[in-house]
């Protein structure tokens, strides 16, 4: 490995040397003429794919091409929540695989990603919603995932600040996954980048893919803003822009791009030590280690590549927050931002080969891509290296929209802005 190993000893050594000995966490190489595998997209998923390709599957002649800079896309634009509290059989094993990889991530990467298993608490407000959460919690436990149903007394102990007796949305209890929590999102990108680089993967920033070279139905390489780069295999990991990139290879996807906004407040003293979601609207909140309340809600609901949203959604998210914890109305909002989501037609992702030989697709993450980062990387690397789907991602097929084997967690049909 070309990078130094981080440890208490390296910190002490550098403290004594005035921190003059740290090396860059990854190199900035010029692209080679060709690679065994080229990953398009240097987000969390692309970097994780490179890491697992090199470490788990032994494929090390790999480049990751990023049109901007590492950490500048959706991996730096989410609310950092990780969880595996899914309902459907096609989803639970995948997200649990991801949860387990999160649990060992820092040791695996030798990088502090601030993995914090502070728990995820989903509130419910009606008998019907309680039934739905009992069902979900039971499905999780049947797949070996932890879940517990909390009554109001227990919930009052954990989250005393909630507006339990709200006239319109009284809180009746919650489903909790204790192993869920948050992970520092930028550190995930940096940690995977550093690890992949250490195995010899070239991470090439400011290199935009402008086309694909396909001969006799087989991928030969990618045209980029830095010239042609040959490739035995190419993996697309460009969620948000998947349709645009796939169109360059002549493919049309079951995806619409939508904008999702997120928000952070000014820093305050410790207020909430778990992740909490409002069940009657769409609102989720946690507190960062700097003290800011990090929260979000629904997507804006119309096709967008703008990376910024509109005020009605801001208002809707804040109303959701006020309905569940009214005291946050006293806190000022510091920043808001938008990220572009691949909203798939059934709300579930795609990790599959494409009709072009040697071209693979990792897309359609809706707004659940961050928590999936390690498993998506592992499963995509498995698919690329072995030409066979990873067992936990076998349901994420591109052809399921034609065969009817949809994975519609929310049950709303082919309406991307409702997932």
């Amino acid at each position: 490995m070309s990078t130094d190993r981080y440890s208490i000893f390296s910190v002490l050594r550098e403290a004594l040397r005035g921190h003059t000995g740290w090396k860059p966490a990854w190199r900035s190489p010029d692209p080679k003429p060709s690679y065994d595998v080229v990953i398009v997209g240097g987000g969390g998923h692309g970097l994780a794919t490179a890491h697992y390709l090199a470490k788990t599957y032994g494929v090390r002649n790999v480049a990751v091409l990023e049109k901007g800079w590492i950490g500048g896309g959706n991996v730096g634009r989410n609310t950092t929540i990780v969880r595996s509290n899914y309902l459907l059989a096609g989803n639970i094993p995948f997200y649990e695989h991801s949860m387990k990889l999160w649990e060992g991530l820092e040791q695996d990467l030798n990088y502090n990603a601030m993995v914090s298993q502070r728990g995820v608490v989903n509130l419910f407000h009606s008998d019907g919603q309680r039934d739905a959460y009992v069902r979900r919690g039971t499905a999780m436990r049947m797949h070996g995932v932890d879940s517990e149903l909390l009554d109001v007394a227990e919930l009052k102990r954990i989250l005393p600040m909630l507006d339990f007796d709200n006239a319109r949305f009284p809180i009746k209890g919650a489903l909790r996954q204790k192993r869920g929590g948050t992970v520092r999102h930028d550190a995930v990108a940096w940690g995977y980048a550093r690890s992949a680089d250490g195995f010899g993967v070239d991470i090439i920033q400011n290199c935009e893919v402008t086309g694909f070279r396909i001969e006799d139905g087989r991928i030969k390489g990618v045209e980029t803003s830095r010239g042609f780069i040959g490739a035995g295999k190419v993996g697309l990991s460009t969620a948000g822009n998947s349709s645009r990139v796939a169109a360059m290879a002549g493919m049309r996807l079951p995806i619409e791009s939508h904008v999702l906004q997120a928000f952070v407040s000014e820093g305050i003293k410790p207020f909430i030590d778990t992740v909490c979601t409002f069940g009657a609207g769409h609102f989720y909140i946690s507190q960062s280690d700097k003290g800011g309340l990090v929260f979000g809600g629904d997507i804006d609901g119309y096709n967008s590549y703008a990376q910024r949203g509109n005020l009605p959604t801001v208002e809707d998210v804040c109303e959701g927050g006020m309905a569940v914890m009214p005291q946050i109305g006293r806190v000022r909002m510091l920043r808001s931002w938008g990220g572009i989501m691949d909203m798939s037609m059934d709300g579930s992702p795609i990790i599959d080969a494409t009709p072009v030989q040697g071209l693979y697709l990792n897309a359609g993450w809706c707004y659940g891509g961050f928590k999936a980062t390690p498993a998506a990387g592992d499963c995509f690397a498995h698919l690329i290296a072995r030409d066979a789907p990873h067992p936990v991602a076998a349901a994420y097929r591109l052809d399921r929209f034609a065969t009817g084997r949809l994975i519609d967690e929310k049950g709303v049909g082919a309406q991307p802005n409702l997932h």
Binding site: S243, R244, R252, S257, Y302, N303, F401, A414
Partner: protein
Amino acid sequence: MRIACPHCGPRGVDEFSYLGDATLTRPASDAPEAAFADYVYFRDNPAGEHRELWQHASGCQSWLVVTRDTRTHAISQVEAARDVALARSKGAA
């Protein structure tokens, strides 16, 4: 974002609900299954000009075809969906 409803004038986007791509055409009832899968699930999803269906749900309830740039949210044209459909059927006839 404000949408200029041809019946009600410019209104905030929160009065409208969104359906999606307005350029899709339902296949004939005897078309192959693949054509229906394509119609229901697959989209061009362009970055740029997009013709899309909105309903003025909290207003006059009419359906509209809005032409909007998905990179900037700038709206260049709003038409009554009925007029668009009539023009399309005349073109086909």
